[in-house]
Structure formats: C-alpha cells, structure tokens
Symmetry: C2
Subunit: 533 residues, 2 copies
C-alpha cells in the first residue's frame, strides 16, 4: 500500500482540524499534480487554497523530484513506482535533436524523424503514467482510504490522466489547472475550434492565416489527432476498460470536468470561442517584485542609465553548445547594459565584464525591477506571463513544445523579437536583435500596454481561481456550466444526419414534382395525339 | 435638425462639468436605446453609469413613449419622425392572433399564417428603424455635433440597428446591452452555435434533443435565416450602401462590437459556446426587496400561513378574453392563499374575496417578500430573472417571442409549470397547476437552488457591466477580446476549401499509385509474355 505521510495521531489531529475548518467552509481537496514547471504552478494554487483553510492531499510517486513528500501546505500520498516518469530524462535527447536539426539541415525528413521521436517519447510518458494510474486503482487499501476521506473535489493538471481516472472512480467533482490536455491545447477538448482561425500548437501560426497556412494548420491538427488516437488514448482507454464499466470513454471523462482553470488570458492568447466552465487565470503566479538580495541589487544599480538585461532559458535547457554560448556572451559583451544570465554550463570564453553568470535568479523580482530593460527567454508559459505582467520586452530563443507559439503571441503584439538556434550565431543576428529591442521604444510601449490590459481585471487571477474552486465545493460541481454535447456522435454534433435528411426530403420533393409535371405533360400530349388522330 | 435638450448655457455648463469629470475618469456615452421592456433594462444601466460620474446622451424620437425627454441621469437628443416605431401598436394584433390560434385549431396553416404576419411586422418595424437611422445620418448638423462631442463609446441594444450604424459613422467603440440582435438570439452572431444542442428561439426545445427535435430546430434556424436575409437585412444594408463606402456589410458591423453585455447567465441559459467579449449580466436589474406600501403589506399579512400568489402578464397583455379571465379568477377563488393580480380589463365575474386586482405592482418587492409562494408570469426575461433572483416558483402562461423558451428554462430545472392559453380554461388545468406548484416542495427547492447559484458570483452583475463598459473607455475598445474571423467567407471559416484541397491531394496520390502499380504490372506481364514467346 502507498505510504501515508504522517502518523495516526497527526492524522487524527488533522481530522479534528478539518472538522473545525468545515465550520468556516474549509474543504478537502485531492491533488494529482504534474512534475516540472507544471508543479511550480500547482504549488502556488495549493498554497493559496491552504491559506483559505482547505486541507490538501497531494498524490506523488517515489520518483517525484519536484513534489516534496513533506510540506507545510499539504499532506502527501506517495505511490511506489519502479520505472517512473523522469520527464527530464525523456526531454534531454529531444532538446539535443532539436538543436541539431535547427543547426543542421531543416528538411522534411528531419522533421518526420523528430515527430517520430516525439511520438515515441509521448507514448512512453503516458504508458508510465497509466502504470501509475493502475497502481493507484489496484491498491484497494489506498482507494478505500481515499473514499473514506470524503474529498470535496479532485484538482489535477490534465496533461496527464491519473487524476481524471481517480476522480471518476471516486465520483468526485473535477477541477483542472490546465494549459494542455493529453491531446493538445486545453480548449480543443471542449470549445468549438475552427481550424480556420485557431492556430494549432507547434504550427507557428497566428489567428490570421493565408490559404497555405490554413492547409498547414489542418495538417498539424491531423498530426495531433493521430498522435492522440493512436499513441496516447489507447493507454488510458486500457485503464478505463480494466477498472470501469464497459462504454466508459477516457476522452469523455477528460471532457467532463466541472471547471477548467486555464493558465492563459486573451491578452496572451488570440481571441477564440470558449465555454462557460472555462475560467481564465493567466498570470495567477505573478506578483509585485520584492527587493533583490543586496549583491544583486548593487550589480543592477551599477548599470547606471543603461539598465539591465536578464536571460534565462528555463529548466530544461541548462546547457547548450559551446559555440552558441560564445556567440551569446560576445554579443552581451558589446552592450553598455549589465547582463544577468542564468547559465549552468562552462564559462563562455567570450564573456564580458558586464555579464554576471548565475545558477538561479529571482526572475519575478528582476523582471519587476525598474532598471530591467530586456528579457532573453526561451518562451515557457511562466516566463512569458511574467514578462507580460511586468511589461518587459523579450528577445526569444524558442526550442520546442509551445515555446515558439508563446513567443509568437508576444511578437504579434509587437512586444518581442524571435530568433532560432539555427540563426542565432550567424551575421550578428543576436546582437542586432538585442539592439533593436533595446533601441526601438515600440517594444517596451507594447509590452507596457499588454501589462495594463492584463492587470485591468475586476478580480486578481488567483482570487478568481480560488473563488471558482470553492464554488465547485459549495455546489458539489458546476453541472449548469457544462454542456454534455460532446457525448453525441460526431455526425449528430455537426448535424450531418439532419442536413442529409432535409436534403433527401428536398430531392424527393423535386423528383415528385418532376414526375407529376412529366406525367401531366405526357397525358396532355397523348390527349392531343388521340384528338388529332 | 434634431432638438438638443437644454440651452446653450446649460450645454456649456455640462461641458465644463464633463471636463472636470474627466479627471476622475468620467466618460461620455452616447446611447441608442429601445422602447418598452428593453428601455427598463437600459435605464438601470444609464442610472448606474451616471452615478459613476459618466455623462450620458440618449437618442430618442418624437414618438418615444417610454424614453422621456427630460431626466436627471441623461440629456437627450430627439429625432423628429412622422411614422415612428409604435411597437405596442404592432404587437397588439399579433397578441390577438396568437390567442386566437392557441384557442382555435393549431394547424400548420395557422402557423404559416402567423409566421407571415410576424415577418411583415418585423419588416415594417425595421424599415421604420432604418428611416430613423437615415434621418440621423442625413442630419449634417446633428452628426457634426455628435462628432464634436467626442463620445467615448456608443451603448445600444442591437435588436434594432441605428446605434450600430452611427457608431460606425463616428468610428467609436461599441458596447451592447443585448439579448436579441436583428437576426435572433445574440450569441448566434458571434459564437459558434451547433444546431445539435443550441435550441433556436421559438422552437420550444432544450439543449438535449431527439433526432426529430434536431430536425425541427434546424428548420427554425433556416426560418430565422430567411427572415433575416430577406426581410430585415436589406433595410439596413440599404442604409450602409447610402452612407458608407462600398463593401461595408451591416451584419459585419453588428458582429464587430467591442463588448456584448448579455442579459442572461448560465443559471438561466443552457450551457453553450461563448466568446471572450461576451460578458454575462443576467439579473443586473434585480435587487433586494424594499418594504411594501402599507396597504399592500396589510393585504399580504392577511394571508396568514398560506402566503401570497402574484400574477402579472407583462406590458403587452394587459387585457385578454373575458372567459379566460373568468377561469383564472375562479381558480384563484378556490385557493386559501391571497392573490395580487395585475389586471387592466373588466373585473372578472368569478373574482374571489382573496384576490386583489391592481393596475401596477412593485413586482420586485413582492417577489422578494418572505410570504410570496408563487408567481404566475407570462415569461418575459425581466420577470423570469426576478423569479430566479428571489427563488420563487412559477406557473407560466407564455404567449409569443421568447416567453415560452424563457419559461422552459425554468421548467427544465424543475422550477416552473407551463400552461398554454389553449388549455388554461380546460378541465381545471389552471387550478391544478397552481396547486401542484404550491404543494410540491421541489418547485420551491429548485428555484431556491437557482437563486443560490445565480447570486454566487465574484462580482454583482451590474458592477461587472460597469467595470467592462469603463474598461472599453479606458482602453478605447476591446480589440484583443474580439475575433475578426467572421470576415472570412463561410467556406474558409468552415475549412471547406482546405478539406477539399487535402482530399484532392489524397485522391491524386491514390490515382498515381494505382497508375504506377498498373504500369509496373503491365510491363512485367509484357516481359513475361515476351520471355514466354
């Protein structure tokens, strides 16, 4: 059985506390989080829920490396797994391949090769996730404990599916902290998404497309569909078939969540159809900057009027090819600004005196610092949202996943310039990009405008998220916000059957009319003939 | 020229005041309202905007009977019209016809007859509206004044189109206080609306339909489309063609509003796709009950434990056939409750001592009174929203427009029972309906549940509406919330062209493959033949 973190006495104490919390509406929440940057988001939500008096139980595995077993804000249940989902392990070879492709020949063959690599990685990740789901559902003692605990809802990130499966088993309301589902961008599962103006992730397209771009977008959509139907869905469906009654479809379970707390808003995302149970909470992790550590503040202040550039390529790209690092360092060295660079590899030979290498940086506090002029970023959602919140222009170096698309959204609003790894070391590209964004005031103006729009909301995103999570607890779900139309077969949903029947009726009526006219004209012809004879 | 309400000196004073208001964010709003119950809504919004320090100018006609020329909350511009839109005048014969049909034979022929009557009424109403729009746009002095006034936005009810046309002329941000557009329910213009689960107004269907119902729904959709394209659109398009550059499409102007403040929410409406620039403000007119006038309070108190029933059939149905009134009065007389009935016709012969006839009633205060047990209503949006707000069960007597559909939404949630005029006077139907809703606790429980859901929002609906109107003023529009996808031709929007191209490529590839296989097999056959010879 899974180990429950905490002795029986502390469990009793917690139960008593919960009983008293109930009086002021404290609920019990079961959380199935994801690792990596997804956990960074979820942890903020958990802390906020905890501060509202809710009791949170987090389900993790023995291989979780971000999600700690002990926390002041939650208790945890640890699932023993042997071959766990070490996401970083999967991603590293892909990062390498992407950089190789970017720097080598960008052929269709290479693209297909990369796609196959991605498919196989995705398949493995979701197979391991399903192994975990099976381990949880098979553990009778654990499931009994979960049932007895009488949670008010399951909170999960639906990019992976265990939380969805367990919520169905326990018949609990389901709330997502979501940007991605197992089959692509979150909206695709529940909101109508015309491929004519909803750009697919990875396509690098915007909401205004030429005919050729719309063809490309449709091909990307078909690729995602193939990946989901052939590579991902079978793993989850197998779990459904094993543990639930026949006819339970995993995708319908996924679509059936009460609430979708989306980590986007329409300052960032292109306008698109949405649903009543989608709540936008982009930037819920952003907050005003705190003062910097003294040493860092001194370094920032030493930049004088020129200001500071900060650079971070996120969690996965801690190291990259020496020659690129050298080009980047050399470009920084030519600028009058000071630079703070989160870099884990060897010290580049061309590093200037104005550049400080750090292993970690207080990114939010630096972005919110009045002397920060520019953010060199890989385009992860968290970083992009923080850039919007603080109104800092971006030079983007995207690699994979949604990074290019995230940065494209800033670029389309005039707040960012994008480079690829393939061109970053050619013809002073990087230096010119930095200089353009630093010198051309429109980049800053546009990011400041996005920041104003993003902050001009009737309620803070985190408070909005908390309100709606508690709403689901108060009303035991949000059925009235949720359409069940997705349960219709596709031909009914799209009225294909109705249109065919109506067309058939019209055709029959026309044929009848033609037959009658013919019959009448033949008869009158005959009559004329008979008469004339 | 249109008369401007107020002398030059008072105009100057207002201008000065406006200048000082600007300092604390007071804006200038130009309002094109509708008459009747639509004005009741708009007036509440205007008062709230006025109380926030905004200056409001209302455009009315010499024939406006609800919209007064003088008000503490707005100044007005009166357009002289000879043959004005006297809506009540149009509606009365339709009311009569509907009652006749309801009570006579409900045949397909009668339905078609009624549809033609409705079409011709709609055509006349919109033609007169377009005459008004033309009068406004032709009046050079008026348009100059409007331009010089530098309004921050146009606020209108898009069931009629003058506000839309003037906003385009003045190039001003456009905000709707909306439930209906010229072509049907508001969402239909901008949000994807699959006919498989979005019931058309007038169809009397819910969001869960059988195959036959879906066919019926599609027919209703086609009827609305025909009505709009053939009967309504041509009037407005003619105005566009006269005053704007070629290629300006009226429907695109209608779709292009910055913000849609919808007078529904998803406690009332079935869940459906929506758009980022749709803001739900259902019940923004509802407020806690004020104490009743002493006489009325005494009457209510005299009901003892039995409580009170209130009945109102809205503005248009002030009088209806004597025999029906007699049946209703007789049914009321048999109940132990007290009844307050808003009734303008002759005193029914069967009226009981427990029933008080009134010409007008403080409906909101009565619905919010703790002794009110039941609301007999025609199903207008305002009344239905007030019933939800106060959690009072309903017996519905719908006649036309959206009334049946509004009540159906309560019925589907178990909060109302519906009768038609055709059956109200048969077999004690009315009395039984009253008794069922009074005696069966589920009706009240369900309405109370709707009330709780409706009130459980992070922000009051009126405050939400105000926030977003001011948002549009602060940011001079809300372009980032608005897709322009509606400008695509339909075959592009629905990706028909893309699908055809992809299919063509697939077909060509298959044909090529077949050709190659044939060629190869023929060649090998020939070789074998040659060899064997």
């Amino acid at each position: 059985m899974a180990s429950y973190n905490g002795s029986i006495s502390s469990y009793l104490l917690i139960s008593l506390l919960v009983a008293s919390w109930r009086i002021y509406d404290g609920g019990k929440i079961l959380v199935f989080p994801l690792e990596g940057s997804h956990w960074v988001n979820m942890d903020i939500l958990i802390k906020a829920l905890h501060s509202q008096g809710h009791t949170i139980t987090v389900v993790r595995t023995t291989q979780s490396w971000y999600i700690k077993e002990e926390s002041l804000h939650y208790s945890s249940i640890t699932i023993p797994v042997i071959d766990g989902v070490e996401f970083e392990e999967f991603v590293k070879p892909i990062v390498k391949k992407v950089i190789d492709i970017e720097r080598g020949t960008r052929s269709v063959l290479n693209f297909i090769h990369l796609q196959i690599e991605m498919f196989s990685t995705m398949s493995k990740v979701h197979r391991l996730e399903c192994d975990m789901a099976t381990a949880v559902l098979e553990d009778k003692d654990l499931m009994k404990t979960l049932e007895e605990n009488q949670y008010d809802l399951v909170l999960t990130d639906p990019a992976w599916g265990t939380g969805i499966l367990v919520a169905h088993y326990l018949q609990l309301p389901l709330v997502y902290n979501v940007r991605w589902i197992t089959s692509g961008e979150g909206h695709l599962a529940i909101a109508p998404s015309p491929m004519s103006y909803i750009p697919m992730t990875g396509s690098g397209l915007s909401d205004k497309m030429t005919f050729t771009e719309r063809v490309k977008n449709m091909i990307f959509y078909l690729l995602w569909e193939v990946q989901y139907r052939l590579v991902i869905q079978p793993h989850y469906q197998a779990v459904c078939d094993e543990f639930f009654q026949p006819g339970v479809d995993f995708y319908e379970l996924l679509q059936g969540a009460d609430l979708w707390l989306m980590r986007v808003d329409f300052v960032f995302e292109f306008p698109r159809p949405t649903m009543p149970n989608v709540i936008y909470m982009a930037g819920f992790q952003c907050k005003p900057a705190k003062p910097l550590p003294q040493e860092l503040e001194e370094f920032v202040q030493s930049s004088g009027n020129y200001g500071v550039i900060i650079m971070s390529l996120g969690t996965f790209v801690s190291e990259f090819p020496h020659d690129i690092a050298d080009v980047i360092a050399a470009a920084f060295a030519q600028l009058p600004q000071k630079v703070i660079w989160r870099h884990k590899g060897d010290r580049p030979a061309t590093l200037g005196n104005n550049t400080l290498l750090v292993q970690w940086m207080p990114q939010n506090d630096l972005l919110g610092h009045p002397m920060t002029r520019l953010f060199v970023a890989h385009g992860g959602t968290n970083g992009v949202q923080e850039a919007i919140y603080h109104g800092i222009p971006v030079v983007g170096l995207p690699l994979f996943f949604d990074q290019y698309d995230n940065l494209l959204r800033l670029k389309k609003r005039g707040g960012a310039k994008l480079l690829s790894m393939a061109t970053v070391d050619k013809d002073n590209n990087f230096l010119e990009a930095l200089q353009e964004v630093l010198d051309e005031p429109s980049y800053r103006t546009n990011m400041q405008r996005l920041s104003r729009l993003h902050r001009d909301v009737p309620m803070e995103p985190l408070d909005t998220a908390l309100f709606w999570i508690e709403f689901v607890m108060r009303h035991k779900g949000a059925a009235h916000l949720r359409t069940e139309s997705y349960r219709m077969p596709w031909y009914s949903y799209h009225s294909v059957d109705v249109v065919l029947i109506l067309l058939a009726v019209v055709v029959v009526l026309i044929l009848l009319l033609v037959a009658i006219v013919r019959y009448l004209s033949i008869r009158s012809c005959l009559k004329i003939k008979i008469k004339s004879e």
